[in-house]
Subunit: 136 residues, 4 copies
């Protein structure tokens, strides 16, 4: 079984979407991963603020890293996000996860996203399923 950092690094290597987002992984603890990114012009929606899919994708990657870093493969099955404040081009986002619950098969995570002013811009809840397959 691989170490947490090895798993997350391996995921990032083929995770083209997280690469496009420009994710920078700051902490590798299973269940509590911290990731940062900067919002670019190509990430805006029709209101010229960050598309909801940007903060969602950031949180969904954090969910994937947090839940897979334990060593067993985990997939996101249900997720929800509340968009609390507009996110602008140039904003520096920091996202971190809290593992609320983890059983053999099911995990629940809270993930928050803050901007550079420490204001929470989104709150996300994710439920994952673990098939039992190990990372190797």
């Amino acid at each position: 079984m691989l170490e947490p950092q090895e798993i997350v690094d391996k995921m990032m290597l083929t995770d083209r979407m997280s690469q496009w987002l420009g994710l920078e992984i700051k902490s590798y603890t299973p269940g509590n991963v911290i990731v940062e990114m900067t919002v670019r012009q190509e990430m805006v929606n029709g209101f010229e603020i960050a598309h909801g899919g940007i903060t969602y994708s950031l949180a969904d990657s954090v969910l994937a890293f947090s839940s897979n870093a334990h060593g067993l493969q985990a997939v996101s099955i249900e997720t929800s996000i509340s968009h609390l404040k507009p996110v602008h081009v140039g904003d520096r986002l920091t996202s971190n996860s809290t593992e609320i619950s983890l059983t053999k098969r099911i995990g629940v995570y809270h993930i928050e996203i803050f901007n550079q002013e420490k204001l929470m811009v989104a709150t996300f809840k994710g439920t994952i399923y673990r098939s039992g397959k190990e990372w190797e």
Copy 2:
């Protein structure tokens, strides 16, 4: 006040994220917009299937088009998505919306995403808030 198609076209013009996704709008009815896109290699996650943020972003754009096409500006406040089946590179996705409820201030939409085999790959619920400001 603008016509539904004018509003959606105006949103798409500055919506760099929806442009990156390659969204093609097939129907412009307020409350029931149909959008298609094709999954590209740069959209995959660490499992080499489409990142959850891709189907989320597609659905969130459909939510924005559906709720804004009525003529009043609407923003997504709470959304959830269930990821039902893996989405692969080359898949052709079709997403459509159903307006469950719309009051002066709050709207609720169900949005489904199907692949080219008519299999549902994701189901999404979105709640929007309308400030009262018109599109012009």
Copy 3:
């Protein structure tokens, strides 16, 4: 393994909460159960309309019946509900389920609740987990 109606009847027998709600099961098809109930005075909240927990409990029972009627024990892990219209004392509610997805371990259901005027008062999504244990 028991038949769908045997399973639902067995569940109802010990389900004191569903008994208190006054649930009447109208259809027993696995994945698509129809249940009715009438709202009583003791079910209201501080606004003198039905407490959100009433429509939630109705939908959560429908979720349990729908997912267990297949023969394998299933528990609700994540659920969400949108409250669309006020529900009043004396209202006759009808709730039905649609099975969106069912795999060996995970199921996703949409459940709607209508009043006697066929107006949708709530929409619910539930995710269930199946441990593999059979009903007997």
Copy 4:
């Protein structure tokens, strides 16, 4: 405009569902209400554990008290709950709220429920809408 405690007391007076649940309000701060209750035999489901509607109803009441205690009337529009651990007859539940965001019209709250062993049994997110009407 009424004081927080006056509003919550007024709500409880007509809230027949919260009375049936046996809710005891321990803290009245707007945005952060603490409520306790004990699970009774009549609250179980077909698995002879607490029906999901019990923890949901507890959390939904906490949401109502937390969001209304500011002085403006607020209604729950979208809520989700993850059921993390089984709740048994005799369990003493404590629920508390955190106000994640509150604007003129929209509020988002996280609500947690713990049992007497300080184990989290459910986590809830609620979105409320404020019409602008004052409590009086």
